[in-house]
């Protein structure tokens, strides 16, 4: 029980008192018990000795009475025992056990028996002793004395009561002394405890414990104070760190919020913030019964700049355009970039449509001067569409849609102008927009529905021998109408389907080529158009090798065609990718060579095998002229660099003859063959290796 008490929430003071008190109680109990026992033994022995002596005296004194047969005298002798109150009775017997004399204590004698003694009936009540009486070594009788033990027991009880009383007094005194001593000893601990509670309650580590003694508790208080100093120091550092981290997090949060709602390139509000601002402006306009205008901007021919001069220049142009647009608007208006070259402007609180027209005019003026980007001076214009609240609509979605339609109208009407939305525009454009949406939707299922096909246009050398095929993608929709690659490839790129389509086409081409190989057709070269973006994608080259391995084909039949612009984007990375492909016997051709900005220096470094002259150049060949400086230069450069040259878009004999005279290696065009499907190619190649003119 004491262990449980010590374990519980008793204070140290009470625990010490409990331990001391328990120890003292046990010690006093043991000492008292020992004293009582010893006293009892001593008194028993004393009583025994006394009775023995008295019996001897009686025996001695009663000898003559026995000898002279005088019981009266013997009785007198026994009467002397009445002086001893403890003796209840005494007898003298002859040697034949006959009672000779007797003594019985008077019932009038005072009794010392206390109630407590009477309450203990199991105690032995009497003690007897016998002493033989001898005469000349003959036993002539005996004395029997019986004494009451009540006095002895009473003495023991008294002793127990006294020792108990003394013990209780001692314990109370000890309790007082311990309490007084502990009050002095424990007070530093109590003070220390109160300090810790106060620190815990207030979280104030500047508080210190009072050092009230020089003993271990004092040392504890000092160590505690040292610890508090350390905690205070660390707390301070922690608080500073937390403050710093909080500030950083706040900054990061602000930055993330800003990034989430702003375009990282231009710093303008992005589509998300635009939507939000537009909602707010509509609410304000509703509340204030005011007007506002929403403008959609689209930069004219920006894609061409991006493709020809690269994304870095395109990005620099976007930044420059943004800066100039910001100058043209008011601070309270919101300019946003919602797509690649698409911007919006919310013009708050206008009086009339004329105000919006003024802003549109200022915007067009802002684009009048060329932009200087990455050492290029670029001229670019913008097509603007305007919708008005609440004139055109009070709904956000419609306002956006109407501004977009108006912008599209500006594009259709020659670009670099602005148009307000009209109902007629909505009717005209809805059909066109629906077509785009429908195409995107159908394109997604085109592969699964088998609507996509790979066609091959033969390439011939100057002897009309078929040396290769260019793989071209065709989409015949559910109405059996061919949709131009110029239409669906941008849609595929826009919707992200281009990757799936390219991978599907690669697989089909390899499968077709494997079929022709098995049919015993001579080795041919297959050219495939590939974008620089796909080439740079992780895993694309591995995908090519995997497909080839799957169809058990060597790579030396493949020619990848890349445009000049893709080739010149991040030349170092492209060099590494193309070198890897080239080392694996894949040929590299530059598509539409001469229409871009290829560095001659890089032409030497890049592992290029072939130049393909754009059909634009071939189309401009003038009949009767045997000289075309550009084509001459391209073919001359190719020969100098030991590259082969393929001319595309050959449509007549004149072109054929001229190119032959220029020293072109291979040709491709409707003069020889239109693009053929797999079956047609198989039939052609199974019959001939030549294409007659």
């Amino acid at each position: 029980m004491i262990k449980r008490l010590l374990k519980n929430s008793l204070s140290i003071k009470n625990k010490i008192i409990l331990i001391s008190f328990s120890g003292l109680a046990i010690a006093l109990f043991m000492v008292s018990a020992m004293l009582v026992f010893q006293n009892s033994q001593s008194e028993s022995k004393e009583l025994s000795n006394r009775l023995l002596i008295q019996s001897q005296i009686i025996a001695n004194n009663s000898l003559s009475a026995l000898l002279f047969d005088d019981p009266a005298t013997a009785t007198e002798v026994l009467t002397a025992l009445q002086a001893d109150n403890s003796i209840n009775s005494a007898n003298i017997e002859t040697k034949t056990k006959q009672l000779f004399a007797t003594y019985l204590k008077s019932t009038d004698a005072p009794s010392n028996h206390l109630t407590l003694y009477r309450a203990l009936p199991w105690l032995k009540k009497e003690f007897s002793i016998q002493q033989d009486i001898f005469y000349h070594d003959d036993r002539i009788g005996s004395v029997h004395i019986t004494a009451s033990l009540s006095q002895l027991h009473q003495n023991n009880i008294n002793y127990i009561l006294i020792t108990s009383l003394v013990s209780i007094c001692s314990m109370m005194l000890t309790l007082l002394l311990i309490n007084a001593a502990l009050r002095h000893t424990i007070s530093p601990i109590i003070s220390l405890t109160k300090t810790t509670q106060k620190i815990s309650r207030l979280n104030n580590y500047k508080l210190r414990a009072e050092v009230l003694s020089q003993d271990e508790i004092g040392e504890l208080a000092r160590n505690f104070n040292d610890m508090l100093s350390e905690i205070e120091h660390k707390d301070l550092i922690l608080e500073r760190t937390v403050a710093d981290r909080t500030a950083e997090l706040l900054q990061l949060n602000n930055r993330l919020q800003h990034e989430a709602s702003h375009d990282p390139l231009t710093g303008l509000a992005n589509r998300l913030l635009f939507e939000d601002r537009l909602q707010v402006v509509i609410a304000q306009a509703q509340r204030n019964k005011s007007l506002f205008a929403l403008m959609y901007f689209d930069l004219d021919h920006f894609k061409a700049i991006n493709d020809t001069l690269g994304h870095d220049t395109g990005d620099a142009l976007l930044i420059a355009v943004t800066q100039r647009m910001q100058i043209a608007i008011r601070a309270e208006d919101t300019l946003c970039r919602i797509g690649g070259d698409e911007f919006t402007l919310i013009i708050n609180t206008i009086e009339s449509a004329a105000d919006a027209e003024t802003v549109a005019q200022k915007m067009l003026t802002a684009f009048a001067l060329p932009f200087k980007c990455n050492e290029h001076e670029l001229s670019i214009s913008s097509s603007i569409g305007i919708s008005l609240y609440p004139e055109h609509s009070a709904k956000k979605i419609q306002l956006k849609q109407f501004a977009d339609i108006a912008m599209y109208t500006s594009k259709q009407s020659g670009r670099n102008n602005y148009h307000f939305f009209t109902k007629k525009m909505q009717t005209d454009n809805s059909q066109k927009m629906d077509t785009r949406v429908l195409l995107k939707t159908n394109l997604k299922s085109s592969i699964a529905n088998g609507e996509l096909e790979v066609h091959y246009q033969p390439q011939v050398n100057m002897d009309s021998r078929i040396v290769g095929l260019e793989a071209l993608l065709r989409w015949k929709d559910s109405n059996d109408e061919f949709i131009s690659p110029n239409v669906f490839i941008p849609l595929a790129e826009e919707s992200g389907l281009i990757q799936d389509i390219e991978e599907w086409a690669f697989s089909v081409i390899c499968q077709d080529y494997a079929t022709w190989q098995k049919a015993g057709i001579d080795k041919l070269n297959i050219s495939i158009n590939i974008s620089g973006y796909r080439l740079r994608q992780n895993g694309f080259t591995q995908f090519i090798y995997h497909i080839l391995e799957e169809h058990n084909l060597s790579a030396d039949f493949l020619t990848l065609e890349i445009t000049e612009n893709d080739l010149m984007q991040n030349v170092d990375e492209m060099t590494e990718i193309l070198s890897s492909l080239h080392e694996n016997n894949i040929r590299i051709a530059v598509d539409n060579f001469g229409s871009g900005y290829t560095s001659l220096n890089y032409l030497q470094q890049l592992p290029i095998d072939e130049f393909k002259i754009s059909s634009e150049f071939i189309r401009h060949l003038k009949p009767g002229y045997n000289d075309n400086p550009v084509i001459n230069a391209i073919i001359g450069l190719a020969k100098t660099l030991n590259k082969s040259v393929t001319a595309m878009g050959i449509e007549n004999h004149e072109q054929l003859l001229q190119l032959d005279s220029f020293g072109c290696n291979n040709m491709q065009g409707y003069l020889f063959s239109r693009p053929l499907n797999k079956k047609e190619v198989s039939d052609l190649l199974s019959h001939t290796q030549f294409l007659p003119l």
Binding site: N60, N61, S64, A65, F68, D69, D70, T73, E76, V77
Partner: protein
């Protein structure tokens, strides 16, 4: 042979008569005999509670008693050889007996011998008023028990010291009463 048979018959007859005599004798005779026997015994025991003067050189105890005294016979029968580890000699009194050599004198007279009063001789008698007449111890019968009277003056004159244990049993008398 006949004389042997006759002798045997005479012994048997004598024994028969003795048995008849003793068993049919009056109770008085029996009580008297017991009384004498006790007295004989008491005489010896009394001696053991008496302290004789140190000047007395004792090598034996001499108990002088008249030969015709019934107690003499009982003393003989008791066959007690020693008193206080000294040999006991029972001396039959006659006119030549030197009383002064006796340590104990049992007298059948009423009065103690004057000649030995101041000598360390324990005088005992069963005669009435013996103690009062200057004797030391007098047997008497009280409620069928043999009791003793004592004259401590006589003890003092004779320089004998009776034990207190003995005195407790005695009925003390003085000679002074007798003188009156």
């Amino acid at each position: 042979m006949n004389s042997y048979i006759r002798k045997k018959i005479r012994i048997y007859l004598l024994t028969f008569f003795n048995i008849v005599f003793f068993t049919c004798a009056p109770s008085y005779a029996s009580d008297k005999s017991m009384e004498n026997k006790l007295k004989a015994l008491y005489i010896v025991r009394i001696a053991e509670f008496i302290e004789w003067p140190e000047t007395t050189e004792k090598t034996s105890f001499k108990l002088c008693i008249a030969e015709n005294s019934p107690i003499f016979e009982q003393l003989q029968l008791l066959q007690i050889d020693t008193i206080n580890k000294l040999p006991l000699h029972i001396i039959a009194l006659n006119k030549d007996t030197a009383l002064l050599d006796c340590q104990i004198l049992y007298s059948e007279k009423e009065k103690a011998e004057v000649s030995i009063i101041q000598h360390p001789i324990l005088t005992i008698s069963s005669e009435l008023d013996f103690a009062r007449q200057g004797g030391m111890i007098e047997f008497y019968i009280d409620k069928s028990k043999v009791r003793m009277k004592a004259n401590l003056e006589a003890f003092a004159l004779a320089r004998l010291k009776p034990s207190s244990k003995l005195i407790r049993l005695l009925t003390i008398v003085t000679t002074a009463e007798q003188k009156q």
